[in-house]
């Protein structure tokens, strides 16, 4: 039943019992997800905790392979088992632990109250169905709207994500779309049931900056509603600067820094965060210069060192960094960092 989880709308409680800090829409606690691979068991997500408040846009950034998508898939309980398993943690959505719901309850929630925009549009779209059918399906399924209405709504959604010729486009198949059009079809699908929580995994990598701005404005608008929120997974630090209220930085399956966006850019405290900031090419940068990548390779999750996972690439590392995993510590208001050099 879709009614299993109810969210108190903040407007309903305003007035009489106001002044209580609003409960976060989503609260992830100690999430640990492992995969069994030929090279051993890896903790793709290792003891990850964060909150997403109502109306908030939370960005998750971090190196390729750091566990961003696995975190998102864990929230939706879409981890392929085997080889994967959510081993520990709580995922509280509106106060209820999603990890305790039955599969049927979870199906009722997915694509409905929580929607995900997947990272790879081509592998998430069905090549044999028209785009209109795919966008209309969640409406038909969750809202029990007859197909004619669902298809009309689908065309409306395709227009909302800036598609032209929606009549013809809704009848076309994914292979007839450009990369960016496929990505927008995915977004239209995710928006179909007006979800409360949208998890967007690299939603605009295939889009030019003007369409990107329109789509992200649209997502941000929806997220600022009284019941909703947005988790934005992206490697575009310009997009994070423009849209995120708060940022979680991941490295090797862990949260290494978490802070309000302005704070993070003004004073990045983890050496990995600083390296990330330095490798961004800028429109006003010096074109003759080489870009500054973070030297070295991302760590092998199957053979993580005892100490800090970033130590091998960290310009500031000292011996103590290699002896124990640094815990995530509060170093300022809402600012947490996992580095022993920062306190």
């Amino acid at each position: 039943m879709t009614q299993a989880v109810t969210i108190e709308s903040p407007t309903a409680t305003e007035g009489a019992t106001a002044r209580i800090a609003p409960q976060p829409l989503l609260s992830v606690r100690g999430l640990t997800t492992r995969f069994r691979t030929e090279r051993g068991t890896v903790a793709a997500v290792d003891d990850v905790s964060f909150d997403v408040a109502v109306g908030e846009t939370l960005a998750i950034v971090g190196e390729s392979g750091s566990g961003k998508s696995v975190t998102a898939l864990s929230i939706l309980r879409l981890i392929p088992d085997p080889p994967g398993r959510i081993e520990r943690g709580q995922i509280l959505f509106g106060g209820q632990d999603l990890l305790k719901l039955t599969d049927a309850e979870m199906r009722g929630l997915r694509g409905n109250r929580i929607a995900m925009i997947f990272q790879e549009p081509m592998s998430s779209l069905n090549p044999a169905l028209t785009v209109g059918m795919q966008v209309g399906e969640p409406i038909n399924q969750h809202r029990r709207m007859p197909w004619s209405g669902a298809l009309a709504k689908a065309r409306e959604l395709l227009g909302a994500v800036r598609m032209s010729d929606v009549e013809a486009r809704a009848r076309a198949y994914p292979h007839q779309f450009s990369g960016g059009m496929r990505q927008r079809a995915m977004i239209a699908m995710a928006l179909a049931c007006e979800p409360q929580l949208i998890i967007a995994d690299e939603p605009t990598t295939a889009l030019d900056v003007t369409v990107q701005a329109q789509i992200l404005d649209l997502l941000k608008d929806l997220a600022q509603g009284v019941h909703s929120a947005l988790i934005l997974i992206t490697h575009d630090l310009g997009v994070v600067a423009r849209y995120a209220d708060r940022v979680v930085v991941m490295y090797a399956g862990r949260v290494v820094e978490s802070a309000p966006a302005r704070q993070l850019y003004a004073q990045p405290r983890h050496p990995y965060t600083r390296g990330l900031m330095a490798s961004v090419p800028r429109l006003d940068g010096d074109t003759g210069k080489r870009l500054v990548p973070i030297e070295g390779q991302p760590p092998n999750l199957a053979a993580l060192p005892v100490g800090c996972a970033f130590a091998a690439r960290c310009p500031q590392a000292v011996d103590a960094c290699r002896s124990a995993r640094p815990p995530l510590r509060e170093i300022g208001p809402q600012h947490q960092v996992a580095c022993i050099l920062e306190s």
Partner: protein, 328 residues
Amino acid sequence: MTQPLLRVDNLKVHFPVFKGAVFQHEVATVRAVDGVSFTLARGETLGLVGESGCGKSTTGLAAIRMLTPTSGRIEFEGQDISTLDKTQMQPLRRRMQMVYQDPYGSLNPRMKVRDIISEPLEVHGLAGERRARAEKIAQLMQAVGLLPDMADRYPHEFSGGQRQRIGIARALALEPSLIVCDEPVSALDVSIQAQVVNVFVDLQQRLGLAYLFIAHDLAVVRHVSNRIAVMYLGRIVEIAPRDEIYRTPLHPYTQALLAAVPVADPEVERARKRVTISGEIPSAMNPPSGCRFHTRCPHAFARCRTDDPPLVGMGSGRAAACHLHAAP
């Protein structure tokens, strides 16, 4: 002037649109590429940017004849290749390669890296005897910054950035003179993106490769390109040397594109006046009359609605298709 490596002249690629479940009949045409011309010199990088769906990938695919153009002329090393068939193209294939956006989908998951990289050599009968082949693979892997002892691993054992470099090594195996890069770094996080961009730049300097570099990230395009072409709805609307286009964009669409780039600084972003081009994205099946951008252009005047502005040279290697910049 010396002959360009690639000359594309009035290229058109149109796709039919069908309707009907059983008896399909053509009801319209998507004019994906609709009169595109440019040249690319040896060792040069031409950046190609523009709105999603404007025809960048189609232009790139047609330029190296992975697609058959509807009309227009494509000259590669002085030879007209626009109408060559598959067998006629075969000997030319090795000199033009493609690197795709998706480092996940474009590598066969069941092949070892060594076989992925040497596959094009086999196809062209250039693999040579075992030792020479192994050496060649090691060289290629080194050229893109991979350790040769990784050759026996499978793609899923690599990170996104490493996989993208495998794709580049494969493209380099045949020593091409032209590589079409279709969003080669969009799927990568910034620190790996920086590594891969450096690989592209170094290889160009060492091997004199030319790139047609398609990307959405204007800062990356600026970093790698000598010249930049901006496309809108199947056409090039502006083309200019790199610094000119960023310093003084002439076409209103180019201006809008540059103004929309997010800056990696929340203070700048909050203080900034946001200018986004509004208006419906026009149809590629039935493009607007006159200038194709007039429906969204803040400067459009009467003539823009009726006359299609040609791409005219402005001197110093620049050209723009806009009535605001046309000779009277």
